[in-house]
Amino acid sequence: MSSGLLIKSQPRNGKQEITTDFSKPFMMIDRTVREHEQAIELTVNSIDLPYAAVGVQHGVMRYRNDQYGFDIDYHMIIYFIDSSVPEIVYRAASAPTTLPIWKDLGAGQNASVNYIANKIGMRPIQWITWETLQQPQYSSGSFSAKPYTGNYDVEGMFYPKKIYSAALNSQKGLIWDYGFITRNSPLANTGSMPNGTLVQNSNIALEIPMSNTIFATSPTNLSLRQTKDSNGQVFAELEINAGIALITCTFYVYDSNSPCAWFSDGQDTPWNYVLPTLVKSNIKGSIINLYIRAFSNDTKNSYSLPGGDKVVI
């Protein structure tokens, strides 16, 4: 570098030290252009996000041993989903868990009953419903379901909705970061991002899965990227992606190949499990403060390297 600003100390012990070397480029926030550090406050007041919940029914199936004439009762738990749920959502609900989730309550009961009948060689004679702990629910909100086409498992993503484009007053792409603050209900009550969180990713989880595991997927996120219009103007584009996530068993479940979670023979307490529930996500009425910060002096300052080169391994 032949230009720059070099600050040296007074000679000390016969040696002069370079105290500050500004010949190396900075990552600079442009505070002369307000748009580069402006805050954009988004008020989400009309977006209904999809939500769904898995139905849960407890019951007892009584089996009879015709040879010896005695009966055995088996406690069963059937998980089922609303019949109007699109196939893609059903698959999303089913995929992450070892527990089957049935499209139809009766089909779930039949499969479970027959599975155990075949296993113990006894004849089912009576189904006794204890209680339906949770009715299945489903609403697509203002989104349309579509298959997720990535390389990963189907997750029941919904069509994203573009919500805002902010001109960055630049003809060139900018290195940037962004922070946002969420507040008020319902976001504040659904495990949403805590206030004052700095966002440094292109995908921002608006809601954290309501689960004690990080295996679960954030049901709703804000996606940010840069785009360019036909005039070459760079925009920050914001998009809400709505999805659903399953809270499901996070620990070992006995006989995970069985068609339902059931009490094992001789056990009167279940193994550890939690009820699978699809996250109900809805950020209607929420306010998101989004801050966009663009850095200049970023990608264009090519200069000689201290040594070395690119190596492909």
Partner: protein
């Protein structure tokens, strides 16, 4: 404008460790440069600024893309390694600069004292980002003057009264244009130094090595299970923001195996705000930047480390970096959607 060279710097102002007894300060209107708190200054040459010490600019070709021979990762970028040989484990970031000149969010990289490696094959980190490119896009790698193995803290003087940055006055400040550029330019890229621009200041670098041989197991009814990961709460490794501001932060965790050249290697932590997919486990841990503090939770992740148990002698070692880059939220542009 006041410029002082009064030898009043009593601290180690940058991470190189040189005592700052010379330099330039520029105060805001109404402040005496000799007594102004940090918040009253437009510029201080002793501020530990984030500077770029190495820079790579690589254009993606078909040779950089994983083919059908590795079906699980087909279509992603190969694990490119960029060698700087600087001899210090410096914090680094990578970006895609797309053909239309838009820029991606920062991409995760692994770092050693000699290299920066893209983390393309890990399913946990940037799994979407590593597919979001085209041949002809550029990868920019920036290596910063931030040694993640060296503890550092800057005692920022916030002053009294919460003074913000003053109104812009083009006649106040210092500008150093780049070679061939003019000082009247309105393009910040034309300047090596511009006192009205703000570089993220390094506020804190913390390291620890408290967790020797974690036990990535858990128990169900007394039976030991090998789980995917071990969650390890950070102990003292956190940083509190005195002013309630939002701070850029980065976390790293030491990988248990040396590179083929015998160097230790660090992998980045995942900011908590990443959209977590199922099976998208943080490779090493999570970093939580919030308005009150920055903290981490580190993990022993089998997918990342390819081991059921940590090797003998391995100690989980974390680093967190906190950078100040104030944002002005006083005049938000409100949008209703």
């Amino acid at each position: 404008m006041s410029v002082a060279n009064d030898g009043t710097f009593g601290y180690t102002g940058n991470q190189t460790g040189s005592k700052q007894d010379a330099g330039i300060k520029v105060s805001q209107f109404g402040y005496d440069t000799r007594s102004a708190p940090d918040v009253g200054l437009l510029f201080n040459s002793s501020w530990p600024n984030q500077q770029i010490v190495a820079y790579f600019d690589h254009t993606i070709t078909s040779e950089d893309i994983i083919g059908s021979e590795d079906a699980a990762y087909s279509g992603r970028l190969k694990s490119l390694t960029f060698r700087h040989d600087l001899g210090t484990v410096y914090h680094a970031e990578a970006f895609f600069v797309h053909i239309n000149d838009t820029v991606s969010a920062p991409l995760p990289v692994k770092i050693t004292k000699k290299t920066v490696s893209l983390y393309t094959k890990d399913s946990n980190l940037g799994s979407e980002a590593w597919k979001d490119f085209s041949i002809g896009d550029r990868i920019i790698v920036l290596v910063y003057n931030i040694d993640i193995e060296k503890n550092f803290e800057y005692d920022f003087n916030f002053g009294v009264g919460g003074l913000g940055i003053g109104a812009y006055d083009k006649n106040v400040g210092i500008k150093v244009p780049s070679k061939g550029k003019i000082k009247e330019s309105s393009n910040l890229r034309d300047f090596l130094l511009h006192s009205r621009a703000s570089s993220p200041m390094v506020m804190y670098i913390g390291t620890n090595d408290e967790y020797t041989r974690p036990s990535p197991t858990y128990y169900v009814q007394g039976v030991e299970q090998i789980y995917q990961m071990e969650r390890i709460q950070s102990g003292s490794l956190s940083w509190r923001a005195d002013d309630g501001g939002i701070y850029r932060s980065v976390g790293y965790e030491l990988l248990p195996e040396l590179t083929s050249s015998g160097d230790v290697e660090y992998a980045p932590m995942t900011p908590i705000n990443t959209m977590l997919r199922r099976q998208s486990l943080p490779p090493t841990g999570l970093i939580y930047p919030s308005s009150s503090k920055v903290e981490i939770t580190s993990f022993w992740n089998h997918d990342t480390f390819q081991k059921d148990k940590p090797p003998a002698g391995y100690t989980i070692t974390n680093s967190i970096i906190v950078m100040r880059a104030p944002i002005d939220a006083t005049l938000p542009k409100k949008v209703e959607v």
